[in-house]
Structures are given as structure tokens and as C-alpha cells.
């Protein structure tokens, strides 16, 4: 039984990546990544999620080429047209093409996801591993701060930050990131507590490695699998919170397209011109589902449990 993913790899590369005896650290690392990739491709649902993600990227990158109308300028004479003909998904109250707005809105979604991930995850890892490794009152303090943030429902806290900071995509990103890091800190701390007592960390201490070296080189790599899985599963939630903020008018400033705002704007017309809020809603659903599937697939590969 040959995996298609192995079959499509050029034979020269394949040999190098599957070599039993790697000749450099780079080769060893890439080989390991390659094997994880192969395992990932064996999961059909995970591949579906990946496909959805790739479609999202494609649309974001090639937005001008797959749309025929401007997403921000509307023709008032073509208000609220049903799907079909020139406007594949219809138009909204201001005559803007919904398909275009969804496609350009994918850029907003991608920016939000990416920025939240690279902001919240490092904060969480650093706080969590430091707390877990140092212990004592430092751990207590950091974890209580984490608990304080966790005590608030995410959307409510994000709302509070966004309302305080004002509308706009940067503030929305900041607000969401500030509510997303606590679970990562918790996960990182839990992993750190386990890893801290292992023999390999003891061996590193015996050879005189500094605490920083142990934290960064030994402990953080062991936190990565759980964190990667958690972050990808969270991305679905981030999209929804961003949509929620947009729905409440605290996200991206109009006329920039953002899916949540589109759903909000279309509320009044939901019964007669259902397409105005339904299609952005479907877009949110598909991308959230995609990230969930990717997250599950990554968990099976990185953090496998016996079947």
C-alpha cells in the first residue's frame, strides 16, 4: 500500500528524506517532519481541512483575479439582488457584490488568525514554562494572573478590550490575543511540570546547562505538540470571536469587508434577502470547520493515543 504523498515525492528527495542514516541534523529534522507529513496525509478528514485552508489562502492571494466587482464600491441601483447572473452570490444593501466581499474578507480573516496565533502563543508558552519551571511564588503569581484572564468568557473580555481600545482591526487582534493566551499558558505549565522531572533534564543539569538553555532547548520543544494542536483548534474560535466583534461593530472599520460584520449588516434582511447574511455565515462555518479538522489531524500525528 503506497501512500499517494510518498508517491508524489520526487524519487531523489524521497530517498534523502527516508534515509535510515541521516548525515546531518538538517536531514534528520526534515526526515522527521516528512514522516509526520505522511502520517497526516493518511487522514482523509485532516486533508479536507487542509484543503479548506488552502482554498482560503488561494482566495486571499488571488482575490483580484477571482472577483469581478469591487468589494467596497457598490452600485445603489443593484441593491439586494438575489444570487445569479452577474452577481454570483447576490448583492447587499449598498449594492456591493457579496462574492467579492467574501473573497476579500478572507484576507481579513487570515490576518486576524495569523496575528493572534503569533501573539498569543508565545506569551502563553513563556508564561507557562516559566511558571512551571521556577515554581514557588512565581508560579503562583503567574498562574493566578492566568486564572484571572481565564475567568472571563472570551467574547465578553474581547468586547471589553475592543470597546476600551476602539474599533479597528489592530485593536480587535489585540483584544482577541489577550483573551487567547491563558489556555496556552496552562498547557505549557502542565507539560513543564512533567518534563521538569525527567532524566534528560536531570542530565542537562548535571552537565551544567543553564536554566534558560533547559527551558528553551529541552522543555519548550516538548510543549510544542500539545500547543500546536490547541492553537489550530482555537483558530476556529478566533474566527468566531472576530466575527462576533465585527457583528457588534467593534472589529474592522467599514467599508472593509469582514465576514462577521457582513452577517450583522444582513440581519434586517434575513427573511426576504436571506443571502446577504447567509453566505458570509457559511464562509465562517467552512473555515472554522477546516481548522477543527486540521487540529484533529495534527493531534493524531503529533500527540498520538492508542486506538
Amino acid at each position: 500500500m503506497t501512500d499517494w504523498a510518498i508517491a508524489v515525492t520526487p524519487p531523489g528527495w524521497r530517498q534523502w528524506l527516508l534515509a535510515e542514516t541521516p548525515h546531518s541534523r538538517l536531514q534528520a529534522r526534515l526526515s522527521r517532519a516528512y514522516l509526520s507529513w505522511i502520517a497526516f496525509t493518511r487522514n482523509p478528514l485532516a486533508m479536507l481541512g487542509l484543503a479548506m485552508f488552502l482554498v482560503l489562502i488561494f482566495f486571499a492571494a488571488f482575490a483580484p483575479w477571482v472577483t469581478m466587482h469591487s468589494p467596497i464600491e457598490g452600485d445603489l441601483a443593484s441593491r439586494l439582488l438575489p444570487p445569479g447572473g452577474d452577481h454570483w452570490l447576490g448583492t447587499d444593501q449598498q449594492g456591493r457584490d457579496i462574492w467579492s466581499r467574501i473573497v476579500y474578507g478572507s484576507r481579513t480573516t487570515l490576518i486576524i488568525i495569523f496575528m493572534v496565533a503569533i501573539t498569543a502563543a508565545p506569551i502563553g508558552i513563556v508564561i507557562g514554562t516559566t511558571a512551571g519551571y521556577i515554581g514557588g511564588w512565581v508560579e503562583g503569581l503567574l498562574m493566578r494572573i492566568t486564572d484571572a484572564f481565564l475567568a472571563f468568557p472570551k467574547l465578553v473580555l474581547a468586547l471589553a478590550f475592543a470597546a476600551a481600545l476602539g474599533a479597528g482591526i489592530e485593536n480587535a487582534i489585540l483584544a482577541i490575543a489577550l483573551t487567547s493566551w491563558p489556555p496556552y499558558a496552562r498547557i505549557a505549565r502542565a507539560e513543564t511540570l512533567t518534563v521538569r522531572g525527567t532524566d534528560y533534564v536531570a542530565a542537562a543539569r548535571i552537565s551544567g546547562a543553564s536554566d534558560i538553555r533547559i527551558l528553551v532547548g529541552h522543555i519548550m520543544p516538548m510543549c510544542m505538540p500539545s500547543l500546536i494542536v490547541r492553537v489550530s483548534l482555537d483558530m476556529a474560535g478566533v474566527i468566531l470571536i472576530a466575527a462576533g466583534l465585527g457583528f457588534l461593530g467593534l472589529g474592522v472599520a467599514p467599508p472593509q469587508p469582514e465576514w462577521g460584520q457582513m452577517v450583522s449588516d444582513g440581519r434586517a434582511q434575513i427573511l426576504e434577502q436571506w443571502w446577504v447574511c447567509t453566505f458570509p455565515g457559511i464562509a465562517i462555518f467552512i473555515v472554522s470547520l477546516g481548522f477543527n479538522l486540521i487540529g484533529d489531524g495534527l493531534r493524531d500525528v503529533l500527540d498520538p493515543r492508542e486506538g
Binding site: 541521516p22 534528560y200 548535571i206 552537565s207 551544567g208 532547548g217 516538548m222
Partner: protein, 257 residues
């Protein structure tokens, strides 16, 4: 080489306090192989970990190669003593290649010729260069333990602490690893402190040993005395009988210590 005087180690406070090691003393001459024998809870591993510098909370005196050891160890002093752990599956970082595992101590101590030393270390433990960029999960238990030994030797220590180094290995692999350890001690003039619950391993590897029970030294004997059954304390004798195998009469005579 090693002098331990009135070493005491306890964990916890108040009602939960456990006195793991109570006033233990022994000495190890340079180049000697010394055994610490006991069952679980005897404190033997606790002593080893304190010697290795993993536990700063102890009282008493510990001297290593003439240096009095303190709770905090300066980095350079770390080179004197290294350790091989029991579980080959837990003592190597799962995400580090063998090369990384061996070169890290060298990087920490600022060596230049890391490449040469890593290759020499692998060679010394009987692993060829093909093992250099493998991950631990690609190695067998015996191979992992060899890497652990290579790591322990890479900083050229004077003392190597061995915490049940072969108890997790198959008996045929154990023989290979014990032979390797014997050879290395002769070649490099090392001093060993070996902790084990297996009297056979201790009799084979060590010249002298302390038999421990619940944190105290019950008897200090030579390996010859052990082999010839000339042990004095009742607990030591019971341990020796138990190590010989199943014997219904002997078991009936076991006391509770």
C-alpha cells in the same frame, strides 16, 4: 576520590517528613568501583542524585577529588562527576538527535573541537558514525544506554555515577553494557559508584559495597565477602538468600525488617 561523611537527606516538613538518607558515610578510592545496594526506599538513588548535584538540600560533608561540595555547584566543577540513568527510554530527549545530545555538554563548557569529540565518543561506546543523526526512538534500549554512557563520558569526568544502568535491559544486552562499562573504567581510569538492587551485577562490577536499608547503611562488605556468603548482618544475609532464587524453606524464614 569520594568521601561522604554523615550525609543526611530528608524531604517534606512536619508530619510529611521523610528521612530518605540518615547519617551515611563511606569512601571511594580513585579508580575504584563502589556499589550501593538496597531495595526500594533504601535511599541509594537519593545519595547518588545528591552526589550528582541534582539535590541541593543535604547536610553533612561530601568531598569529590579533594573539593568540598556545596549546595550550589560552579559550572566547571560539573565536569568532575556525571551520571548514567536507569531508564534508557527516559534519559535521552525524544526530540534531540544523538549528535545534539552529545554536543550540548561540550557547547555548554565552551569546547572548540566538538565534531571530533562527538565522533570519538560514539566510537568509544561501540556505536558507529551512522548513529550520529538518529533520534532516540530509532534506537534499541541497549543502543540508547550506550548513548547515555557516551554522554556521561564526553566531559571527561573523573567519577561516573551509575543508577541501575542495566536493570531495564534484556539480560543479553546487560552483559554487553556491563562489559563496556568495565572496559571503559580500565581504559579511562574512572571511579564508579554503582547503585543496584541486583546483587549479581554489584558482585560483578564492584570491589566494595554498602548495603542499605531505609536510609541507613546496614553493612559495608567487599565483593569477595559477598561472593563467599560471608555477610554479617541478618538483613544482608536475607538479601543474599533472596537473590539466589525461589526456595520455600528460605522464604519461610524471612524476617520483617
Amino acid at each position: 576520590m569520594i568521601e561522604i561523611e554523615n550525609l543526611s537527606i530528608s524531604f517534606g516538613h512536619g508530619a510529611d517528613r521523610v528521612d530518605a538518607v540518615k547519617n551515611v558515610s563511606f569512601t571511594v578510592a580513585p579508580g575504584e568501583s563502589y556499589g550501593l545496594v538496597g531495595e526500594s526506599g533504601s535511599g541509594k538513588s537519593t545519595i547518588l542524585r545528591a552526589l550528582a548535584g541534582l539535590n541541593p538540600y543535604w547536610t553533612g560533608r561530601m568531598t569529590l577529588a579533594g573539593h568540598a561540595l556545596a549546595a550550589k555547584r560552579p559550572r566547571a566543577q560539573r565536569r568532575l562527576v556525571q551520571m548514567v540513568f536507569q531508564d534508557p527510554y527516559g534519559s535521552l530527549h525524544p526530540k534531540h538527535t544523538v549528535d545534539h545530545i552529545l554536543s550540548e555538554p561540550l557547547t555548554v563548557h565552551g569546547f572548540d573541537d566538538i565534531e571530533t569529540r562527538v565522533r570519538a565518543a560514539l566510537d568509544r561506546v561501540g556505536l558507529g558514525p551512522s548513529f550520529r543523526f538518529r533520534y532516540p526512538h530509532q534506537l534499541s534500549g541497549g543502543q540508547r544506554q550506550r548513548v547515555a554512557i557516551a554522554r556521561a563520558l564526553i566531559l571527561e569526568p573523573k567519577v561516573v555515577l551509575l543508577d541501575e544502568p542495566t536493570s531495564a535491559l534484556d539480560v543479553s544486552i546487560q552483559a554487553e553494557v556491563l562489559n563496556l562499562l568495565t572496559d571503559l573504567r580500565q581504559q579511562l581510569g574512572l571511579t564508579y559508584v554503582l547503585v543496584s538492587h541486583d546483587l549479581g551485577v554489584v558482585a560483578h562490577m564492584c570491589a566494595r559495597l554498602s548495603i542499605m536499608r531505609t536510609g541507613e547503611v546496614v553493612e559495608i562488605a567487599s565483593a569477595d565477602e559477598l561472593s563467599e556468603g560471608r555477610l554479617l548482618h541478618a538483613y544482608s544475609r536475607q538479601l543474599l538468600i533472596a537473590s539466589r532464587g525461589y526456595d520455600t524453606e528460605a522464604i519461610a524464614a524471612f524476617g520483617d525488617f
